[in-house]
């Protein structure tokens, strides 16, 4: 698989996929998309980069162990649900704030953070499986 063309293209392709995965994640609240599918796209980006240039560079590039990323996602998702304890409404109630940043109203919500948690959980889990499989391939 390590042809010159693939190795040259793979970093750009992976970068593009990661950016697209974030776009899909943020778009997901009202339109098709969301944390799960975004996470899958990002995990495929890691897998492609891994196929092209080996697993070690991928592990270096994402810095954290994929399992830790997944665990962080679970924590983020759970905490996003627990935030509502401070407002006196049940677990997982969507809470919104509308800060104005550079003159643009940006709706932020606990739902968004839950989705980001799902994103990390999926990236971590699928990424970890993909990298483990690719590592087995190299032996």
């Amino acid at each position: 698989m390590r042809t010159l063309i693939f190795r040259t293209v793979a970093p750009y392709l992976s970068t593009l996929m990661i950016v697209f995965s974030i776009f899909v994640l943020l778009r997901g609240h009202n339109e098709p998309g969301g944390g799960f599918i975004g996470g899958l796209i990002a995990a495929s980006a890691l897998a492609i980069y891994g196929i092209a240039s080996g697993v070690a560079p991928v592990r270096r590039a994402i810095y954290f162990h994929p399992m830790n990323i997944a665990a962080f996602g679970v924590v983020l998702g759970a905490v996003a649900g627990v935030v509502s304890i401070f407002v006196g409404v049940p677990f997982m109630t969507g809470l919104w704030i509308y800060p104005v940043i550079f003159g643009v109203e940006v709706p932020l919500s606990t739902v968004l953070f839950f989705d980001i948690g799902v994103y990390f959980a999926v990236v971590g889990t699928i990424g970890s499986i993909a990298l483990a499989l690719e590592e087995r391939d190299e032996i």
């Binding site: 679970v74 924590v75 759970a78 049940p90 677990f91 109630t93 919104w96």
Partner: protein, 522 residues
């Protein structure tokens, strides 16, 4: 997207508008607590030493949460929290009654004991592969199943605990573990599929998944015929999860393969979740259908008890024998569900709590015995009484307790069940319960005679571990103290299990808690 300019919407038609008391958060608190703790421990998995300590402290915290939840429920009746503030039955409700709360408390006690034992039993590799993370994840599943008030959500928690249990089961990656895990996973998946099929059908019939809503509707429905199918499907699915005859064979085939502490956890928790789900669906959701199936359940109960007892008699492996005792205990709980009077159910619930504690303790005892004798086979074991008298005495207490001899906690529920079955003129059931007790006494008597009483065989070598540290006996000591304590002072537990049984048979308080104003919607 809900913008600030759209404030004129009437939220009261979609949202629960009453402010939520902080105490009601106890309903949900154990579940995210377990998830967060498990995830944090996964991040800490490189630090094996810290992990065990953090897990033990974390599980003690879980016990405190569950205890507070039980106190809250005992004081105020069933408590409901509907996620995301949506009005039930549209939001997912968590509804806790005494039954769910007391099972959650017992589960957390079992988890604490297992975590303390695991601190010695699970090596660094096991910890790095996430033993404690899986433990917390499984606790999230188990407690989630006990507290949820939504039948599809119950399915989700079953999945969560199953996934965690698969992980726990293959920890160590030995051949026979994979073998046991395959049987366990495959047969559990069949049961899960049946559960899902039944739930899909149920949604088709009622258009709701909220258990309180369903319970209200089954009592007034015009055409009850589909409910018999539903009840039969649930009986099969949860009967398989609980390891009831004739779908019990997966349990003795898989429970002796994983690490001892994992067996102890499974024996204490997993089958009881099946029994809980069976009681919840058959007694609360489909009471008329349960009456129609009462004979089937009674036969399943009798055969499960006998199969377990005879299976235990036939074993020479300490851990395999315990697997059969788990099955036999399930039969006794099923007998309570078959009779379905307040007394019988109360006895079944009491027995479930007793069984959680005692079966876990017995597996821990088998692990300690194997640590001293380097084997689980009763032929190779011997002289345990000599090598550690305290340990032997505690084992004897557990043997008496699991056989149902006074003054330990196994005695009361069995006595109550015998009386309840005689009251219901089900003398067959009463006979089998007594016979099972007798056979169990012989089976554990054999363990005592072979592993503890007989002189140590040459092959066992010198009992080096005889001077065991007190800490390794600590979890066993705590569990034994519980079974003795509830054997000698059963009143508190009896009151709790009585009110849990009454709540199952008459769910009006449960329904009231989910739909406070109008009784039930629709």
């Amino acid at each position: 997207m809900a913008g600030p300019s759209e404030a004129a919407i009437d939220y009261s038609r979609a949202f629960v508008m009453e402010p939520l008391a902080l105490a009601d958060w106890l309903v949900i608190a154990p579940v995210p607590y377990c998830l967060i703790a498990g995830a944090l421990l996964m991040m800490l998995r490189k630090n094996a030493e810290l992990q065990a300590k953090a897990a033990i402290i974390g599980l003690i915290g879980l016990f405190v949460l569950c205890g507070a939840l039980l106190a809250h429920v005992v004081e105020n009746g069933p408590v409901t929290m509907t996620m995301g503030r949506w009005l039930p039955p549209f939001g997912i409700s968590f509804t806790v009654d005494v039954l769910g709360a007391i099972l959650a408390v017992t589960a957390s006690i079992v988890a604490v004991a297992c975590a303390i034992y695991a601190a010695e039993d699970v090596d660094t590799t096991g910890r790095r592969y996430g033993f404690f993370s899986f433990l917390f994840l499984m606790m999230a599943g188990v407690i989630g199943a006990f507290v949820t008030g939504d039948i599809f959500n119950l399915y989700v928690w079953f999945e969560v605990l199953l996934i965690a249990s698969f992980g726990l089961q293959v920890l160590g990656s030995e051949d026979r573990q994979i073998d046991g895990a395959t049987k366990y996973a495959f047969l559990n998946l069949i049961a899960t599929t049946m559960f899902l099929v039944a739930t899909g059908y149920l949604y088709g019939v009622f258009g709701t998944l909220n258990m309180a809503d369903i319970a209200a509707q089954t009592r007034t429905i015009d055409d009850a015929r589909p409910l018999y199918t539903l009840a039969a499907l649930y009986l099969f699915a949860f009967g398989m999860k609980a390891a009831a005859f004739p779908v019990s064979f997966w349990l003795p085939a898989s429970y002796h393969t994983p690490k001892v502490v994992v067996s102890a956890l499974f024996a204490g928790l997993l089958t009881k979740v099946g029994i809980y789900a069976l009681a919840r669906t058959l007694l609360m959701l489909f009471p008329d259908q349960r009456d129609a199936f009462a004979d089937v359940i009674a036969w399943a109960a009798m055969l499960t008890m006998l199969l377990g007892a005879f299976g235990a008699l036939a074993q020479t492996d300490y851990r395999r024998l315990l697997g059969y005792l788990v099955v036999s205990g399930i039969g006794i709980m099923l007998a309570g569900i078959a009779l379905a009077t307040v007394e019988a159910l109360s006895a079944a619930i009491f027995y479930a709590l007793h069984s959680m504690v005692v079966m876990t303790a017995l597996y821990v005892a088998s692990g300690i015995a194997a640590r001293i004798g380097k084997s689980f086979s009763m032929n190779d074991l011997g002289g345990l009484y000599r090598s550690n008298v305290l340990f032997a005495a505690m084992s004897l207490v557990l043997f008496f307790s699991v056989s149902g001899l006074p003054p330990f906690s196994g005695f009361w529920p069995k006595a109550m069940l015998v009386r309840a079955s005689l009251d219901a003129s089900a003398s067959g059931l009463a006979t089998i319960i007594l016979l099972t007790g007798f056979l169990t006494t012989i089976a554990v008597g054999r363990v005592w005679a072979h592993a503890y009483w007989k002189p140590a065989p040459e092959t066992m070598g010198t009992p080096a571990a005889a001077q065991m540290k007190m800490t390794s006996l600590l979890p066993l000591l705590a569990l034994v103290a519980l079974t003795v304590g509830f054997g000698v002072f059963p009143e508190t537990l009896l009151q709790l299990s009585d009110s849990a049984a009454a709540g199952l048979l008459d769910p009006s308080a449960y329904i009231q808690s989910v739909f406070p104003a109008e009784g039930a919607v629709n």
